[in-house]
């Protein structure tokens, strides 16, 4: 089920449908032999962050399922930590190192050491360097480059906002430039809104990781909401921010009902925020664990000398009425995809 970048929908209702359908894929179908008894070293970008921890957990599970000896190293949300973890993996004589959510540029030194040590390195959810240092980098979805994939996130956010506002979205834009993909989401979002004549961007506020570190994040956001009283739409790049105070900031503004708020990633705790109308109304969800499984699959193919195949990890918008998983459950697409079973089917040992 390969789908190309979404066509702008005709009207509001179809916009919503486009958002809910999203873009979906499926794990590859061609088999790959399992190289047995390897040690896998999984470098999480930071166990304190769901978006890092969940894929890492997936990778750990996947590696375990094929009898690999795998362990997770906590990169502690800072690139020096990532580098240290990779090197620790080299010292542990790992055969495979899977990095979750780390751009090559931030760890190039360590990656080169891994390369020299002849270790298979797999890049999940990150960007490789111009002259690639990874043995393999996951492509999320067939037909989508790194840029296109993240822009698609923005596009889907836009579709949902347009649908919810009947084509009259007045967006308070959030600039998040601390990652490669932040600006890409923004691009997808603004490009799509540009095609919607009733829509406009009424203001913007820049939020950064340092704001999270200094605790200024909620205040800045509240202030921006205050300043742009006419905004009726907000798109947030990271679901985690809602529980760092954004959700309550929206409640405190007293405009939770007129504001249409959509996030990104679909982290498990956010289901309840959405269900309880706690400030966040929707999110662009994807299966986090899938990233981990895809990482292991990629590793197997590299070891078997095969070409990598797209992981097929799709994106769908979740809100209180549609696609919302049960409390505490990871996101499964509609129609549901049992990627774990699919992978185990094609991993032959």
């Amino acid at each position: 089920s390969e789908s190309d970048p979404t066509e702008p929908a005709a009207d509001a209702t179809s916009s919503l449908q486009v958002a809910y359908d999203g873009v979906v894929g499926a794990p590859a179908t061609d088999t790959v032999p399992v190289t047995p008894d390897l040690t896998a070293w999984i470098v999480s970008c930071g166990e304190f962050s769901t978006t890092c921890a969940a894929p890492s957990a997936g990778a750990l599970e996947a590696a375990g399922s094929i009898g690999w000896d795998a362990s997770v190293c906590d990169g502690e949300l800072n690139p020096d930590g990532w580098g240290n973890c990779i090197r620790q993996g080299i010292a542990a004589a790992a055969d495979v190192i899977i990095t979750i959510g780390q751009d090559c540029g931030a760890v190039s030194g360590a990656l080169q050491e891994a390369a020299t040590a002849g270790i298979t390195t797999i890049n999940v959810g990150g960007l490789d360097c111009e002259e690639p240092l990874y043995s393999g980098t996951i492509q999320m979805l067939d037909g989508y480059s790194y840029d296109e994939y993240w822009e698609e996130v923005g596009t889907l956010q836009a579709e949902w906002l347009i649908g919810k506002t009947d084509g009259a979205a007045k967006l308070l834009a959030i600039e998040f430039n601390d990652t490669q993909w932040g600006p890409l989401i923004a691009k997808g979002l603004t490009d799509r809104l540009a095609d919607c004549e009733g829509c406009e961007i009424v203001g913007s506020v820049q939020l950064s990781n340092s704001d999270l570190a200094t605790g200024a994040l909620p205040q800045k956001f509240s202030t921006a909401l205050l300043q742009h009283a006419d905004a009726n739409a907000v798109a947030v790049p990271i679901d985690g921010w809602f529980l760092a105070g954004l959700a309550q900031a929206i409640n405190a503004s007293g405009r939770s009902d007129e504001l249409n708020v959509i996030g990104n990633f679909g982290s498990i705790p956010n289901w309840e925020v959405i269900r309880s109308n706690g400030g966040q109304d929707a999110t662009v969800a994807s299966a986090a664990e899938w990233n981990g499984w895809a990482g292991v699959d990629a590793a197997l193919r590299v070891l078997a000398g095969q070409d990598l195949v797209p992981a097929g990890i799709g994106l769908q918008v979740v809100d209180a009425d549609t696609n919302l998983p049960a409390a505490g459950q990871p996101f499964v697409y509609t129609p549901a995809i049992d990627f774990k079973a699919d992978y185990q089917a094609i991993w032959e040992n």
Binding site: E47, F48, S49, T50, C52, A53, S204, V205, Q206, L207, S208, S210, D211, L212, A213, T214, G215, A216, P218, Q219, K220, S222, T223, A224, L226, Q227, G240, L243, A244, G245, A247, Q248, N251, A252, S267, I268, P269, N270, E272, V273, S276, G278, G279
Partner: protein, 339 residues
Amino acid sequence: MTTTTTTRTTTATRTIPVQRKSMTVVGERYGLLILLLAMIAFFSILPASSGAFFTTANLSVVLANQSVVLVCAIAVMLPLITGNFDFSVGASAVASAMVCAAAQAHAGLPVIVAIVLAIVTGGAIGLLNGWLVARLHLDAFITTLGVATAIAGLVQWYSGGLPIYGIDASMISFGSGTFLGLPMVVYVVVAVALAAWYLLSWTPFGRRMYALGSNRRAADLVGIDSTRLTFLGFVLAGSLAGVAGILLSARTGGANPGAGTELLFPALAAVFLGATAIRPGRFNVPGTVLGVLFVAVSVSGLTLAGAQSWVDSVFNGVALVLAVFVSTHLRRRREGRGR
């Protein structure tokens, strides 16, 4: 005899600090306040921000968002007054928030119980610190750093890195609601600040804490029970961290795992900044409040002015140094620069 008395009077004039209520003294004490007002004036005039800045709505935003930091600042101040760092305040606040949220979301306990548990958690951490530092005489800096690290670990263990959501609706609305036009949390903070201010400035207990901090040797010699005061300092700090945790959980509608540095640093900055104002040279509550507001107002103003996020780091940094410079310089002007 007469001569001695005359010499004495001459010395007396020497020993009485010169013209105490002079402009410089005012400047020295209220320099930070003046800077704050100047900044408020600036942002109220600046076209980019003037619209929304000087409104009660914005005031509420500023106050409400600083509530947690302010309570943490007061918490961290108490051990500092007795001469001990407490690096665990941030972590304790996060841990308490976790307990508070988990008690409701996971254990389904009533709000009041959750609140009590949160304060107990903070208090217990305070007891631990106090025991290690006051009774076992371990170095406060490294000890509390160790405790903070351990707590962060436990938080991560319990939460598995996942935020907790789903606390009682009443608490959520308390965190986001207003009363008489001001956010409800602000009333809690004001109460805490007033209590701390009274305790420190008006009771013998507070005076003894300052004395202990200013000279431990002398404190021992005049029979001040320094062990007890140090211990209490930490316990109070822990309990206040618990209160901060409750506010935090109410403000976030749950609890977010983390090491709490995002609370500790602003708090420390505010406390030290505050020590340059009102009662220059000693940690004091009004100064700390000013310190917190000083940073908060600049963030608010700059955001309204649409400044990039790096700007307020630079702005804050420079402002900190400037504030210290003003009060220090004025104090030296008054005392006369003796070597």
